[in-house]
Amino acid sequence: MATTRTVKLRVNGVAYEHTVEARKTLVDFLREDVGLTGTNVGCEHGVCGACTILMNGEAVRSCIMLAAQADGAELMTVEGLAKSTGELHPIQESFRDKHGLQCGFCTPGFLMTTYELLSKHPDADEEKIKEWLSGHLCRCTGYQDILESVKLAASRLRNR
């Protein structure tokens, strides 16, 4: 029995270990304990997609997972995209070039889903892209520019 847990995991290649309440969600763990605030907390019930990160390479909602459940996992957050020199990842560049964001709140989630999508389906067509992006809400862009951003990112990654 325990209401607290020691969680050891890796985020963007760096190891972390913190003892937290068992009820703590993974997104709060990332923001408050690890100190990476790029991942946003939106709806807190898995609908909006703002908190999406990669766990062992798969996109998951970090607001509806406990930090304790990620013990031993390899996580990737939006902070893991750009190089340490500050050079943006092609996905980020494409979102910038195609105006795939306005307020930016939903963007970290969109970027992480796009990362998994294009890693697994580099030739994703529009229907496939829409299916994956449907797990994210954006209240600013109307989605068209996001779709264009992902298409551009796909072609840049293919031609890299």
Binding site: A2, R23, H45, T52, V60, C63, Q69
Partner: protein, 291 residues
């Protein structure tokens, strides 16, 4: 909001998990993929004093063939429906249905058994379980029992599962080789819960004209997934034609039990069920190589 305080256990074996549930059944909740329970905890609609996380129980992580059935363990993820070759070969309709289940970001965590145990009447997996005559294996510290889908789904979010039991496995029989299946649903956005949905199965007589068997199961239109046998009977013995499909559609409209809510009115759901009946039957017929 954030979850209320609870004692957290993540046992490594099924026996350990079952012993915990036996001891604390009324205060405990089983946490599998968490895609339904975690939102309920965050919103404090669920306040268990004990959470038994079964994700570390590797013996429950499988999709395998078993006597012609597909046996799926309690922590197999919904993404497995799209990636397991066995499912594509033996029960391809499960793969098609998975397309409608929420989003890839949810299916990576959400479990097949968890969705069935949660029993949301608008969800795809409970309806697929009913349509395909799936059997649920409910295991407690003392015994295991097998319950068919019809007896398993009792009402909104209510099943035959007792508080000291875990749905350890769902078994999907491979449907007859000469059957064709179709799954369709209408929702405002892809991945939302269905306003109305259908799973239709069709078998033709050897003359390839007359309908020998039909299966029609609806979701989002009642307290549980609903099989409408009257609509099936409207098809059996009839030529596979638009007029038979129309008769089934009209029968289905009456055989379901929808309510009005913020997403749709009862009347609209009945109309959708009728339209989906025809579309799904046409799609199934097409798969049988007929147009």
């Amino acid at each position: 909001m954030k979850p209320p305080k609870f004692d957290y256990y993540d046992p490594r074996s099924l026996d350990e998990a079952l012993a915990l549930l036996d001891r604390h059944s009324d205060d405990a909740k089983v946490l599998a993929g968490g895609q339904s329970l975690m939102p309920l905890l965050n919103m404090r609609l669920a306040r268990p004093s004990i959470v038994v996380d079964i994700n570390q129980i590797e013996e429950l992580n499988y999709v395998r063939a078993s006597d012609g059935d597909i046996a799926i363990g309690a922590i197999a993820r919904q993404r497995a429906l799209q990636t397991e070759k066995l499912i594509a070969e033996r029960v391809p309709i499960l793969r098609e249905g998975a397309y409608y289940i929420a989003h890839p970001q949810i299916r990576s965590r959400g479990t097949i058994c968890g969705s069935i145990a949660h029993a949301d009447p608008a969800a795809e997996l409970p309806a697929l379980a009913l349509a395909l005559d799936a059997e649920m294996i409910l295991t407690s510290a003392k015994a295991a029992r097998t319950v068919g889908a019809k007896a398993f789904f009792q009402s909104f979010f209510t099943t035959a599962l007792k508080a000291n039991e875990i749905l350890t496995e769902v078994r999907f029989p491979a449907p007859p080789k000469d059957s064709a299946w179709s799954v369709l649903e209408i929702s405002r956005r892809h991945g939302d819960f269905a306003i109305a949905g259908i799973i239709a199965g069709l078998v033709l007589e050897s003359n390839r004209e007359v309908i020998a068997h039909a299966r029609l199961v609806y979701f989002g239109v009642g307290a549980t997934p609903i099989r409408v046998t009257a609509a099936e009977e409207a098809l059996i013995g009839q030529a596979a034609s638009e007029s038979a499909f129309e008769a089934a559609a009209q029968s289905a409209k009456q055989g379901i039990d929808p309510t009005s809510d913020i997403h749709a009115t009862e009347e609209y759901r009945r109309a959708l069920a009728a339209t989906l009946t025809k579309r799904a039957l046409r799609a199934a017929l097409q798969k049988l190589g007929k147009n």
